[in-house]
Amino acid sequence: MNGAAAIELLDVRKQFGATRIIQGVNLSVRQGERLAIIGPNGAGKSTLFNLISGRFPLTSGRIRLNGQDITGLPPYRINRLGLSRSFQVTNIFHRMSVYENIRCGVLWSLGYKYSFWHPVNRLRDVQRRAEETMERIGLARRRNVQAGVLSYAEQRALEIGITIAGGAEVILLDEPTAGMSRTETAQAVELIRTVTEGKTLIMVEHDMGVVFGLADRISVLVYGEVIATDTPEAVRANPAVQEAYLGGMHKEAAA
């Protein structure tokens, strides 16, 4: 595993009005590592993703991507530097076909930018990359279906497809299996495992089975603070984590 940091968060804070949502998060994710972020609802996991990906401005702190300061950059600039994210609430181009959705994720990364002189249907590299991606997310046979009429699980797969289509080295997935059945979840885990092979992955996930099977390390976020970052086994054994989070989950399950 490469030792250099892909993502570094230095004392990152975020307030909405007077409410402190992220309260001084420090985090470092090595290149090629898979980190899962867990924590109760409302802990600030999605907010943290929104800060890293440029969706929200930070209140204070710094964020680095491959050593480069990306604090305050707009989302498209961060994306161009090799970071791509998915959304907890499906965020796709509903009126476009599956193929077109994926193609949107491909165009910039292959250097076509704002070109108004390339006929997009003749771009072999774009076509190849888009078809490859559809194959990988298992939607090749749904190529021409409008994204808005796909099943929920298919839309979630498409969400991941758009995210990985550009070949970003750092991938952020926000609850990719939320709302899925058991079999769908198992398929999604396999999908995530293969498509993020060799990449840096940060993932917010509720399903503990998914987290323990997929992550190299786990960070536990509670009330906007990381209370532990460690291997899955160590996190499971951590009493503070059990108290704050896992214990609560067990109690919920028992109730």
Binding site: P75, Y76, S84, F87, R95, C104, S109, P119, V120
Partner: protein
Amino acid sequence: MSTLRYRPLDLGRWIVWGATALLFALAPLMSDASFVLTLLSQMGILIIFALSYNMLLGQGGMLSFGHAVYSGLGAYFTVHALNLVGKGAFWFPVTLLPLVGGLAGLAFGLIFGYVTTKKSGTTFAMISLGIGEMVYACVLMFPAFFGGEGGISTNRVVGEPVLGLTYGPALQVYYLIAAWAFVSMAAMFALTQTPLGRMANAVRDNPERAEFVGYNTQRVRYLQMCLSAFFAGVAGGLSCINYEIVSAENVSALRSGGVLIATFIGGVGLFFGPILGAIVFTLFAIALSGFTKAWLLYLGLFFLAMVLYAPGGLAWLIAIQIPVLRARRFSELLWPYALALAAGLMLLCGLIGAVEMIYHLSLESAEESVIALAGLEVDVRALPSWLAVGALLAAGGVAMRHASRFVSARWHAIQQDIQRGAA
């Protein structure tokens, strides 16, 4: 494999474009009346203008209330260029003069578009309206360049004829417009198939997601706006050559509203929508205005009906029949459609009767109370005329209610079968 897949599609395209070119070429043969050429020329110009407008509204999701700024300023620059050529200041073929309009449109797109496209949605619409009003005021404020209320007139017959073209006869002007319309159409269609064109759609549908796949949505809108302004300018240049006069009306809110209505009637969701819209709008504006003073009222009512009942426009109305045709179920709709059509005609007759009689009463001389409607002598002061109109409206309304229920029942049944078949 992939090459094979695209071949039939390409063939279809060739047929469509070939037929379009042929239509442009043969259209003037319909009739010798000069009126027809006037109509066709205006259609050609409005086709370019409406397609350019749809680059914003349909493709980019930008509702502009000031698109005439770009066509109008394009027209002003063209008229000055044409007058300079006429004075012998420099030589430039009239055939290529619309390019001057296009470049002027582009230049103002670069300037004003930078401001308008900073925002999207309602804010964009408001800024476009503001810029439209501002430009209109400026046009009246600087008569030296814009010619004040009267505008600037010109003569398109200048210099030595190139390839025998003087552009004196209206037929030559028509073919100039047709050629530019065809080329602009093809170019604007090609633009929809480029990375920028596709991303303009993406930004329209989900600007946020577009930002997370590397696209600055503001830049996408800006570039789309500039290209659209170029084609608007071409349309302006052609209108300058066609009418040989450019005035403040060319940049007015009236024009901006007109192109919005034309585009919307035709349909913003499909590429050919604005073409249909331009044709229908011109028929209203030129053909209908020859028959009745109330043409604007009819246009407004038609626009209203489209917004309420067919917001996808004429193009959409046509496009949704295609799956039904494919499923070979269209024959089941013929009867309901015919009934709806009959009911619609009844309503329309009643409506026209009422409108024309009211117009006559309020506008025409008080003595003459008999007007000719569809070959019938109608006395607008006689009770039977009003009773007849009222009966038509009432019967038409009732018939329409039944017919539309009939249509929608059949329609839904067919749609359900089609969906079940697909699943």
